[in-house]
């Protein structure tokens, strides 16, 4: 941790010296420098927007929070210029094992195929991710990150918002065309706009311990139902960098948190789990989990993202990962609306796409949590049947739910152009682009996700060349596979993953989702798909 900066200083900003009605005006203010606010600010800044980023603290919080970051999040962070740093520090994994009692029920591999730049997951303490994001923010002069700036008031206007901000000096006011609230699960901005946050609270408590030990366990996710060391409940063991291991233990509904948290009570249980007591505690915390979301993610000129908009239980690693998908979804849309290259209703698609994703994440993580902690006698009975059938049958194994890990949603969205041609595979409109290994002109191996970054930050056409020089809309980035000057797809994996033939083209949105695809695109069809994806229809 020595090399990671986690403590920052408050600095007075000239905006604070403006008096009365003469307040500073900014295009975008992002509230909350957690993983979501930081990533969103970087994306916006890389698109040329100036961003004011406010956080009420002046340090990166430690403690046990997110550890599993998904392939999709890493691909997003690659676009922000910090993916490699995350992967270098993180622990790469893709295999999970599920145990029942003493025996292994089954194992899964989340990324069974080769030829992807990024692994299915890395484990990395959330504070490292945040620290690396802050380092990146500091490289970007367009982001004005103000620590110890707490938003305490919000006045909606037709064409913007006026915020009241408390600082160690005094309060000041700031006007913004748009405010993005990334202020976490207890969002005060959500309360300020008067929105509700409805959902389910799970009664079971979970004890989360991060312990330090050097151990020869494999880098896999191990999940137990009813383990010998923790009878009748579930347990999870997961490796993090720096020889830290994450342990989740399900507790009984009625256990007393104060008692459960005492190291002298936790230690023997974990010693039984690990088979030795050569470990030190870094953190012990108790959690009760909730699954809930806002009805609308957009309230006038205040847009909600991350935990402020939706909260899930952590089984499935859908919290930060889905918040990062919010950020990548919103950044390009907000940028276009601010520039006037897209009409304001483009932003509605943010709510449509990401609230449906939130529903999916809530559904998945609720099912996992319910499977771990059945709500009725009969639910427990059915779970028992599944666990015992899993020993003998394939279908039983697949019904065992020890957490379904985060994958990007497929959007049903007005921005997509429905398929007109016939396809046997490949990502359909609304799906995120799959990666594939290709080679550059000099034969150097790269990935499609690298080529996507090189093609610019706008819409991109991924073309599988058939030799013909086709007419293309202006301002479109291109990735050409095959033909003169194109990338080579020697192994044919790109063609296979996109169900491509010579002539096939995919129109990719700036967030790397498919907007439309064609066997033989015409200029008119591309223009129409582009207009639709940019919110002009």
């Amino acid at each position: 941790m020595a090399l990671t900066k986690t403590q920052f200083g408050y600095r007075r900003h000239p905006d604070q010296d403006r008096a009365g009605a003469d307040i500073a005006e900014h295009a975008v203010v992002v509230v909350g420098a957690g993983p979501i606010g930081l990533s969103l600010a970087i994306d916006l800044a890389q698109r040329g927007q100036s961003v004011v980023l406010l956080d009420d603290a002046d340090r990166i919080g430690e403690g046990s929070r997110a550890i599993c970051f998904s392939k999709r999040s890493l691909e997003f962070w690659d676009r922000l210029g910090i993916g490699q740093r995350m992967v270098d520090k993180g622990v790469v994994w893709s295999v999970g094992k599920i145990f029942h009692g003493e025996s292994q029920l089954y194992q899964f591999n989340l990324l069974p195929e080769e030829g992807h730049k990024r692994p299915a997951f890395i484990n990395l303490q959330q504070f490292y991710a945040e620290a690396y994001l802050v380092d990146r923010v500091e490289e970007l002069p367009a982001i004005d990150l103000r620590w110890r700036n707490k938003v305490t008031g919000l006045e909606p206007r037709n064409d913007g918002v006026v915020l009241t901000i408390q600082t160690p000096d005094s309060a000041y006011r700031l006007a913004a065309q748009y405010v993005v609230a990334c202020d976490g699960a207890r969002s005060s901005l959500r309360q300020m706009v008067g929105a509700e946050f409805a959902g389910q609270v799970f009664e079971d408590q979970f004890l989360i311990a991060d312990v330090k030990m050097t151990a020869a366990f494999p880098t896999e996710r191990w999940f137990w139902f009813d383990p010998p060391f923790h009878a009748g409940r579930s347990a999870l063991l997961h490796k993090q960098p720096d020889d830290i291991w994450r342990i989740d233990l399900q507790l009984n509904r009625f256990s007393d948190p104060a008692v459960e948290k005492l190291p002298e009570n936790v230690r023997p249980r974990i010693a039984r789990m690990l088979g030795h007591d050569k470990f030190e505690f870094e953190w012990i915390s108790l959690y009760k989990f909730q699954c809930r979301r806002m009805g609308k993610f957009i309230h006038g000129r205040v847009i909600f993202a991350g935990d402020a908009a939706h909260q899930v239980s952590p089984f499935g690693a859908r919290g930060a990962n889905s918040g990062l998908e919010d950020a990548e979804n919103l950044a390009w849309k907000l940028d276009r609306v601010l520039r006037g290259t897209s009409p304001e209703p483009l932003l509605d698609s943010y709510h449509i796409e990401r609230s449906a994703a939130a529903d999916e994440n809530i559904r998945e993580s609720t099912r996992s949590t319910d499977f771990m902690a059945p709500n009725s006698h009969q639910e427990a009975r059915l779970r028992k049947a599944v666990l015992s059938l899993a020993k003998e049958t394939e279908f039983g194994k697949r019904m065992v739910n020890g957490g379904r890990l985060s994958t990007p949603s497929i959007y049903e969205t007005p921005l997509s152009t429905a398929d007109g041609d016939s396809w046997d595979g490949g990502p359909r409109p609304g799906a995120s682009m799959p990666d594939a290994p290709v080679a550059g002109q000099g034969g150097e191996p790269i990935y499609l996700t690298d080529a996507f970054i090189a093609a610019g930050t706008g819409f991109t056409l991924l073309e599988f060349s058939n030799g013909a020089a086709a007419e293309r809309p202006d301002g479109l980035g291109t990735i050409r596979i095959g033909g003169q000057g194109g990338l080579s797809d020697a192994a044919g994996l790109a063609a296979r993953r996109y169900d491509a033939e010579p002539g096939t083209a995919y129109l990719l949105r700036p967030d790397g989702y498919v907007a439309a695809r064609f066997r033989h695109p015409t200029r008119a069809a591309l223009d129409a798909a582009l207009a639709r994806a940019a919110g002009h229809i």
Partner: protein, 75 residues
């Protein structure tokens, strides 16, 4: 495919007896466990969520008519 409620067994009595006999010697708790496993095995064999939902709805009608009857008796 919709839920089939035609008689599908050549000898329905054999099927009924097979299920009854599977419960012989079991207490209520064990019987319920057996049923739970059986339901899951058969549901997977059917492998069609719409059919499963129709079957659940048909089965659940009994609970509905039982509670309606109770209400009528109370009135």
């Amino acid at each position: 495919m919709a839920l089939s409620t035609r008689s599908n067994f050549a000898k329905p009595d054999d099927a009924f007896r097979a299920i009854v006999e599977a419960h012989h010697g079991l207490n209520d708790e064990q019987s319920a466990d057996l049923d739970a496993a059986l339901v899951l095995i058969l549901a997977n064999h059917i492998g069609d969520l719409d059919v499963l939902k129709e079957a659940i709805a048909l089965a659940a009608q009994r609970m509905l008519s039982a509670s309606q009857q109770q209400q009528q008796q109370q009135q």
